[in-house]
């Protein structure tokens, strides 16, 4: 079961506008859908595998407002995901090491793309995912 949101995330969510939060929740739902849609190679039941942990995190500007992982833990923000000074809603979704090697291949192992196809399966559903999650949040504004 996923852990509760941290106190920092709860405070961040209360500090932003409700409409902005609604949009961010929609973006977060898209990121989550991509990770959950992914069928990581060697994941059970096909084998023990190494690519085990997928996660997503969402920011409004430089404030984290949501996130999650397939193992119920919060993923660390990737170093390349720059949010300082940002003024937009941004989210990142992905799988942990050695997912990159699986996705793109190595000298001895051909690429086994699993994340790009999952992303492409979710893209056509983005409008419905966003609409559902944004509408939910907007309805609670009253």
């Amino acid at each position: 079961m996923a852990k509760k949101r941290s106190a920092r995330v709860v405070l961040n969510r209360r500090a932003v506008g409700q409409v902005e939060l609604a949009l961010a929740d929609g973006v977060n739902a898209v990121a989550k859908a991509i990770v959950l849609e992914t069928n990581a190679p060697d994941a059970e039941p096909y084998g023990e595998g190494l690519v085990m942990r997928g996660g997503w995190i969402t920011y409004i500007a430089d404030k984290k407002i949501d996130g999650g992982g397939t193992d119920g833990r919060q993923p660390k923000k990737p170093r390349a995901f720059r949010v300082r000074g940002s003024e937009v809603i941004s989210a990142v979704a992905g799988w942990g090491f050695p997912a990159g090697f699986k996705e793109l291949g190595t000298n001895k192992m051909a690429a086994e793309p699993f994340f790009a196809p999952a992303r492409d399966r979710v893209i056509p559903r983005i409008p419905s995912i966003m609409a559902k999650n944004v509408a939910y949040r907007l309805a609670r504004i009253g």
Binding site: G100, G105, A111, P113, R119
Partner: protein, 152 residues
């Protein structure tokens, strides 16, 4: 909508990159699809994959996704690229030459009738070492918008 099998585009992209002057200066014709070139049993050291001290510069391209657009006879495809170098600086130079060759290119029609509307480097620049022989390489992905049918 599709009256013929979806056209392949990776071969055309490989030929374009092999003919690019800057990239050719670094990797010669070692732009591969899916796998590095294997070692020939008659010619030791001929393969792309070598041990430390004998590294070669080369590029390997893989199609990550190439779905047909639901409304138009085009595909918005994504190609993964691994740019290997003899050291970290050269690997980066290979990546830089690849980006210059593919980023925001103009539309062109190949002799086969394949149309490539645009290619762009959309992600990448991640420096890594191959886990098999520790060779430095840079990864990235290229967006390719190409026709799925012959352009007339």
């Amino acid at each position: 909508m599709l009256t013929a099998p979806m056209l392949p585009f990776l071969g055309s992209l490989i030929v374009e990159l092999r003919n690019n002057t800057d990239l050719r200066a670094l990797v010669n014709v070692r732009v591969r699809g899916r796998h590095p070139a294997p070692e020939s049993p008659d010619s030791p050291g001929s393969g792309d994959v070598q041990s430390r001290g004998s590294y070669k510069n080369y590029v390997v391209l893989d199609i990550l996704s190439a779905p047909p657009d639901p409304y138009l006879p085009v595909t918005f495809a994504e190609v993964g690229a691994r740019c290997y170098g003899t050291n970290e600086e050269v690997a980066w130079a290979v990546w830089g030459a690849l980006v210059a060759a593919v980023h925001d290119t103009e539309a062109r029609v190949k002799a086969s009738g394949l149309g490539i509307y645009k290619t762009k480097a959309v992600t990448g620049g991640t420096q890594e070492n191959d886990p098999d022989n520790d060779q430095p390489f840079v990864t990235g992905s290229i967006s390719v918008i190409a026709t799925t049918q012959v352009v007339t």
